[in-house]
Amino acid sequence: MKKYIFKRILTSVFTLLAILLVLFVLMQLMPGSPFNDEKLNEDQVQALYAKYGLDQPIVVQFFKYVGNMLQGDLGVSYKISKNTPISQLIQTRLPISIRIGGCAVAIGALAGLLLGLVAALKHDTIIDSLATVISVIGVSVPSYVFALALSYTFGFKLGWFPMLFSQKDIFGSSILPSVSLSMFTMASIARFTRSEMLEVLGSDYMLLAESKGISGPALIFRHALRNALIPIITVLAPLIVDLMTGSLVVEKIFAIPGVGSLLVNAIQSNDYNVVISLSFIYSAMYIGIMLVVDILYGIIDPRIRLAKKGD
């Protein structure tokens, strides 16, 4: 097992390097350049390219970047916030995105579990249909529409929560964004919980447990839900990364200084270093979480471990 974990970590590092290289190549393919403002002439653009070392071959750029990255230097922004070190730019923004995304995951996962559980237990009743409708609305109304509707109702009309993010009231002003972001998670989790629960409830060991006289909450929580949780985790893991790296639209609407809007701005203004750094952080989080899930999955589910050993 230890050997397996070690091997997985090693390959993850190589995967990350490969991703970084792919990102570099993608940046080369990107049309436009960070410096082609209408008001610049050809010579100035060349001067800027030379200044930032963008005139060098991509391989040189890549190794330089990796070298700098190992020393914690992610380069500077070319456009969004000119010449600002990206580490400084991200330092303040990532925690905000993680906080709001984390809240959204927590709210969404809890509500989703509950909704899915109820739907499965009351399978084929009106409650089940109602839960389906709620979760479908959750996936079919875009989060920015939710965000604006929430802001209009609870911020503007009722005045319960602040409409915009503010550093002075981080808790209060995180509520509306978190809730509007959590809708999608809630809906997906509810859907998966429902189907997994249905499968587990129909399985033989549940029949056995039931015939052994176990009933009520013990049956559902100790036997059914526990087994249903494993596949749910697999679904939840990528969602966590998506949410924590920020949601562009909700950030835009609530004026949250997070990384999602930064990434989109960076792509649109060809701010290479910002795109690469943010994408890389995203990738690292994603691969990290996948790694953890894989390893734990191996511990939990003997079939997968067996399959790996069998090779």
Binding site: K39, N83, R99, N270
Partner: protein, 565 residues
């Protein structure tokens, strides 16, 4: 064993759900030390009637380095805490700021500026001529690669600026020298009639060398790494912040003039949220988008503010054979119903424009607006469907074809896309056989495609950099990188040369007349199809008075603003 596994699963699940983030419960976010600063300062200002003005921004600040900044937002914020030699008055004219008085030599080539004695940086050191020299040298230094260096060379015509930018001379040879601590001498290549109005442009703002060097690479990235010599002091800021604050500079030489206790900036990218915030009183001024004008047009607090940008369609004359035909171009420009675009689609007060130089920014020697008369080119640029169709069929028969398909590139923003859709509809209904496909691109890519001539028709805009028609007319000289249509006319080039570096640069009136001639050439040949001069629909609280709005350089100036309680 099985139990442990199930337990691991549960722990894992709950860790995923709860463990990662304590839902905002510990409000000690790493980034909120500014909050304290902001609230302290607002509490610190004595209990006068003065209060903070809450201002909405559409985009975050790109740079607080005056020589690196290029966008209106950054300029506005920099100007809040920095004074240059000149400042804008309510009409946009240049009046003394750091400059106490100046002398101009007879030949119009040498300015001598005498700096005021009471101007100090916020760290106590006086503002000196050396600060200007240092800043201006930075602006032309190839190592700094300032995007606005052409403000010094092509536009300001400061001696040796162009050579330094090209790397041919050392930056110390720039024609700006500190005679003594408070005297700055500037030498120009040719007389520049609008030179004083360049001096309120942030590229010309001073930077204290000693302080700059003490900041290392971090200059302009936090309140600690900027110095103020202006009306306000930056007291909370981080790069690309969505909210930041400036407080009144009590040591400002003109501190009595400043009535506000501070400025509270809030970046809001969604216009509906912005208007709702404005309605709840969280903002004192905000932008409104065209869609919302219906909601606010009866409100006395609603107003349209000139933004200066001329939006126009640029046909690729050299690259597309059909567009090289002048009749085709005439047909296209005359088929555009500019009134409908402004009144029915944009609705923000933007003015239909029928001249290559937009109105309301360049005032001539006689005090009149260069483009006040919008009908002067009405025989070549006005909405006339019948005439357009006539030109069209003439053009088509000259080309020997019956239909044309054109791709028009458009920015991915809201307003240009709306305008483009209307243009497409107007062209296709008025000009039989014309098909226009809209290609939406991010602005960066659109600019690159245009500069490479890799387009057919493009919807683009140009904002004036200084209050002279040349900021527009300079674009269409042969081989200018912003001459997107690659149009070339020897007569035109000659006129422009005459007016910039030739005989006419000291003869204000003669120059003015020749510039009209140049504009006429552009319009007669339909080099561009001007559409409208952009206005921003804004809400300004009735409590606020004295706030200045300008289409050029600094869009909003707060030095005289007063907010009643």
């Amino acid at each position: 064993m099985k139990k442990t596994k199930a337990l691991v699963a549960l722990v894992l699940a709950s860790a995923m759900v709860f463990g990662l983030v304590g839902c905002g419960d510990n409000a000690s976010a790493p980034a909120n030390n500014n909050t304290a600063a902001a609230s302290n300062t607002s509490a610190g200002t004595e209990a006068t009637a003065a209060s903070d003005l809450n201002v909405m921004l559409e985009t975050p600040v790109e740079s607080l380095d005056p020589q690196q900044a290029t966008d209106g937002t950054s300029f506005e914020v920099i100007a809040n805490y920095t004074d240059g030699l000149m400042q804008m008055d309510a009409d946009g004219k240049a009046v003394n700021a750091i400059c106490d008085h100046y002398e101009l030599s007879e030949d119009g080539l040498t300015y001598t500026f005498y700096l005021r004695d009471d101007a100090n940086w916020s760290n106590g050191t006086p503002v000196t001529a050396a600060d200007f020299v240092f800043a201006w040298q930075r602006a032309v230094d190839p190592a700094v690669a300032s995007e606005y260096s052409y403000m010094m060379s092509d536009i300001g015509q400061i001696k040796n600026a162009a050579e330094i930018i090209a790397g041919e001379k050392d930056k110390s040879e720039l024609g700006a020298t500190a005679i003594d601590e408070k005297t700055l001498q500037v030498e120009l290549n040719v007389p520049v009639s609008y030179f004083l109005s360049l001096l309120y442009f942030p590229t010309y703002y001073p930077v204290n060398e000693e302080f700059f060097n003490s900041c290392g690479d971090t200059f302009g990235t936090s309140p600690e790494t900027v110095l103020s010599n202006g009306a306000f002091v930056l007291d909370s800021y981080e790069p690309a912040a969505t909210a930041f604050h400036l407080t009144k500079n009590e040591n400002y030489y003109d501190a009595d003039r400043v009535k506000l206790s501070g400025l509270n900036y809030q970046v809001i990218q969604d216009s509906q949220q912005a208007l709702m915030s404005y309605q709840t009183g969280a903002l004192d001024t905000t932008l409104v988008n065209g869609e919302q004008v219906d909601q606010v047009k009866d409100d006395p607090e609603f107003m349209a503010i000139g933004a200066g940008y001329l939006w126009y369609v640029s046909p690729n004359i050299a690259g597309v054979p059909e567009l090289a035909n002048q009749n085709i171009r005439m047909a296209m420009t005359m088929a555009i119903n500019r009134d409908a675009i402004c009144e029915d689609v944009l609705k923000d007060g933007s003015a239909p424009t029928y001249t290559a130089v937009p109105p309301q920014f360049a005032t001539g020697p006689d005090g009149s607006d260069f483009s006040a008369d919008q009908t002067k080119f009405s025989d070549v640029c006005a909405y006339d469907a019948a005439k357009a169709a006539e030109y069209w069929s003439t053009g088509l028969s000259e080309l020997g074809i019956t239909e044309i398909t054109l791709d028009m590139i458009v920015d991915a923003d809201d307003a240009p896309q709306k305008v483009a859709q209307v243009l497409k509809e107007q062209w296709e209904t008025t000009l039989p056989g014309l098909t226009v496909n809209l290609v939406v691109e991010p602005k960066k890519q659109r600019v690159e495609d245009m500069q490479n001539g890799d387009f057919e028709v493009a919807l683009t805009r140009w904002g004036p950099d200084y209050a002279d028609p040349m900021t527009y007319l300079g674009m269409w000289i042969t081989n200018n990188s912003n001459n997107y249509g690659f149009w070339s006319n020897a007569e035109y080039d000659a006129i422009i040369a005459e007016c910039t570096t030739g005989a006419l640069c000291t003869d204000a009136e003669g120059r003015w007349t020749r510039l009209y001639d140049a504009e006429k050439l552009v319009m007669d040949e339909a080099v561009i199809f001007p559409l409208y001069t952009q206005c921003n629909a804004e809400m300004l609280s009735s409590k606020v008075t004295g706030m200045q709005f300008h289409p050029v350089a600094l869009n909003r100036v707060y030095k005289d603003a007063v907010k009643a309680e």
